[in-house]
Amino acid sequence: MSITVRYFASLREFLNKSEEKLETTTALEIKEVWTQLNPDKVLPENTLMAINMAYVDADQKVQVNDELAFFPPVTGGGG
């Protein structure tokens, strides 16, 4: 049982990885997931987070089998 963790855009390049799994049998706080997977990196202040493709706050818990994503502020569209 695990949590799937994904990284996008500048954060993906900063960490040099796009996806990984964290083995766990219990729900974890988002910050705990980050710290376990990136022990030597501080979570950038403006990072956005989503669980199962829906925005969440940093204090949200991640359940087993969830997909957690970290990404920088979005910059789509045009004009």
Binding site: R6, F8, L48, M53, P73, G76, G79
Partner: protein
Amino acid sequence: MKIKITETALNPWQEIENYQANKSELSGKFGATNIFIGTMRDFNDGDEVTSMTLEHYSGMTEKQLATIIEKTQQNYAILDVLLIHRVGLLLPNQPIVLIAIWAVHRGDAFDACREIMEALKSSTPFWKKENLTEGSRWVTKNSKGYQT
């Protein structure tokens, strides 16, 4: 309603024509069509931009866009929405995004189009990386949308 994320070049005029031609339920019912097309510039922040790569979070992007459109449909009396956004490698002059709104009246068409565009820019997981004459850089914030 149609949402499409595409890696291939976007011809917004053709897309609008094809979509409307295949929507017989719109025929005779709409009095206003509002169209927004965002196009890639060859400059940004004082630098020449030679190309751009657009990354997105596949799955969440479509979900977020559907949520934005559903919310807008609650706020305005609109009949239909066509939204197409490019990803992958783009060159200057190429359209990035198309939003077309069909409504009975112009007010709803104008305002709904604007609401969808602003929500897209602030909450949909797309990221632009600009390729300059020397090096590349991630775009870190959206423009305000006005010259001043």
